[in-house]
């Protein structure tokens, strides 16, 4: 039995958390993710969710408590944004290093200074190397669906890694959209628990987080990195099972009119909706353009991406974040290193836009596609980052 509700990204995430039989929620408020914890606190107060909600004094404590609860075998959830995610930084590595399947919702937002509460993706890109599985949503439906999938991926014995479900602050966190909900009992069955290979238990004590000397540290970090690389197979399985349950198809990458496209844009998050509108317009004008949404960003699906990029004449990567001093945006560096690794030679342009909540309009996307059209002749390949919508 399914039903359709009008939910915001935050309430969709919270709705899934209630259905997922989460035990412990250590959480600290920060715009724009705050209404997740408000909704969860309401569920708990109303007796609709049997979870321990811990109001901690900071995000550093929130993720520390989440890691500890997960180590004790509890299904654990937290959420944050922006500065809060950055404040969690060191413990994010601890969580993945100790192989703790915490799930966290991140409503993406710009980072200070100057202070700005609006959306871009600088926060999650600052944490891209923390060893977490990182999934991005394009719509409010995606937020709900990816949350339902998250524990299945995280707790799988072949993975045992934390999962971050990202969605654009305000654009998805606060905007309401139609969400097709899966029935409570179906979610409970889909995301049923698997026995943890270890847990802190006073009756059967183990040590977790002890010092590891140079003769083992390398191997331990390699194990976790390998597990993250290999998690794509488990993500595939979970996506397929989810499709079996709901009919909704999820993949590591989300191609749109990509198959025969001469000019491809690669993008992350809600902006994909705008790009689709722009792509349809340009198709009607005769330009064969397409889009690939980078839904799963870690592990980066480089091999799968190469299969889709193959025939394009030029590719653009849209980054809603900066990597100052690196000559590129973060997704651009991943895409170009994958192209290089697999020996695919196609001009790749880097577009930086949508910083600090600046709207990316359909016309902006059309500008990007026109840059790609000009770039098909490799000799005219412009080697600068294209800052779209910037005044200077």
């Amino acid at each position: 039995m399914t039903s359709r509700l009008g939910l915001s990204g935050n309430t969709a995430a919270a709705y899934a958390v209630r259905q997922l039989d989460v035990d412990v929620v250590p959480v600290y408020p920060i715009t724009p993710s705050t209404t997740i914890m408000e909704t969860l606190a309401q569920y708990a107060a109303d007796g609709r969710m049997d979870a321990e909600i811990i109001t901690v004094e900071s995000e550093h404590s929130a993720i520390s408590a989440a890691a500890a609860a997960s180590a004790a075998g509890a299904r654990t959830f937290t959420s944050t944004s922006s500065q809060g995610l950055l404040y969690m930084h060191e413990v994010l590595y601890v969580t993945s290093g100790l192989r703790l399947p915490v799930v966290m919702a991140v409503a993406n937002r710009a980072i200070s200074a100057p202070i700005n509460i609006w959306n871009d993706q600088s926060d999650v890109f600052a944490e891209r190397d923390t060893g977490w599985i990182q999934i991005h949503a394009e719509s409010v439906q995606d937020v709900y669906d990816r949350m339902v999938q998250a524990y299945r991926i995280a707790e799988d014995s072949r993975v045992r890694l934390p999962v971050m479900v990202n969605y654009d602050g305000f654009v998805l966190s606060h905007a309401h959209g139609p969400v097709t909900i899966v029935a409570d009992e179906e979610v409970a069955h889909f995301a049923r628990r698997v026995a943890s290979p270890f847990r802190l238990d006073p009756d059967s004590p183990i040590s977790l987080g002890a010092i590891v000397w140079p003769d083992h540290y390398f191997e331990v970090k390699y194990q976790a990195a390998r597990a993250l690389e290999d998690s794509r197979r488990v993500i595939d399985e979970v996506q397929n099972d989810f499709r079996g349950m709901t009919g909704r198809k999820y993949e590591l990458l989300r191609p749109y009119m990509a198959e025969d496209a001469d000019f491809l844009l690669l993008a992350i998050g809600s902006v994909c909706g705008t790009i689709k509108t722009a792509a349809r317009k340009m198709r009607s004008e005769g330009l064969k353009v397409g889009l690939i949404g980078l839904d799963v960003y870690r592990p980066f699906p480089g091999k799968e991406l190469m299969r889709l990029i193959g025939g394009a004449k030029a590719v653009g990567v849209l980054d809603k974040a900066f990597l100052p001093g690196s000559m590129a945006g973060p997704a651009y560096t991943d895409v170009t290193s994958a192209l290089c690794r697999y020996g695919v030679n196609v001009p790749v342009h880097d577009f930086v836009a949508g910083i600090g909540g600046r709207d990316i309009k359909v016309e902006d996307v059309q500008t990007m596609y026109r840059v790609l059209e000009k770039a098909k002749d490799n000799a005219r390949f412009d080697r600068e980052i294209h800052y779209v919508g910037l005044r200077r």
Partner: protein
């Protein structure tokens, strides 16, 4: 290797000998030692134990930090270059 660096058996540090950390070693002058146990109480490793009424230093685990020599009320422990 267990994932997540889980240590399932207690006392596993018995295999982690620390003598290689040491550049000076504590030597107890047993002529003056009264077996008060102060060095035993202070040793952070702990690498000092009571055997037959006498405090002895286990040099497999002593890191040579010198706290025992500083804290000994009778100053009967000296740190000697190895």
């Amino acid at each position: 290797m267990d994932i997540g660096t889980v240590v399932r058996d207690s006392g596993s540090t018995i295999h982690a000998k620390k003598s290689g950390w040491r550049s000076t070693q504590p030597l107890i002058d047993y002529k003056r030692c009264t077996s008060c146990g102060w060095c035993w109480a202070y040793c952070p490793e702990p690498a000092i134990r009571l055997e037959g009424g006498k405090y002895i230093i286990d040099y497999s685990f002593c890191k040579g930090c010198g706290i025992c020599a500083v804290e000994c009320p009778l100053h009967c422990i000296s740190m000697v270059m190895e």
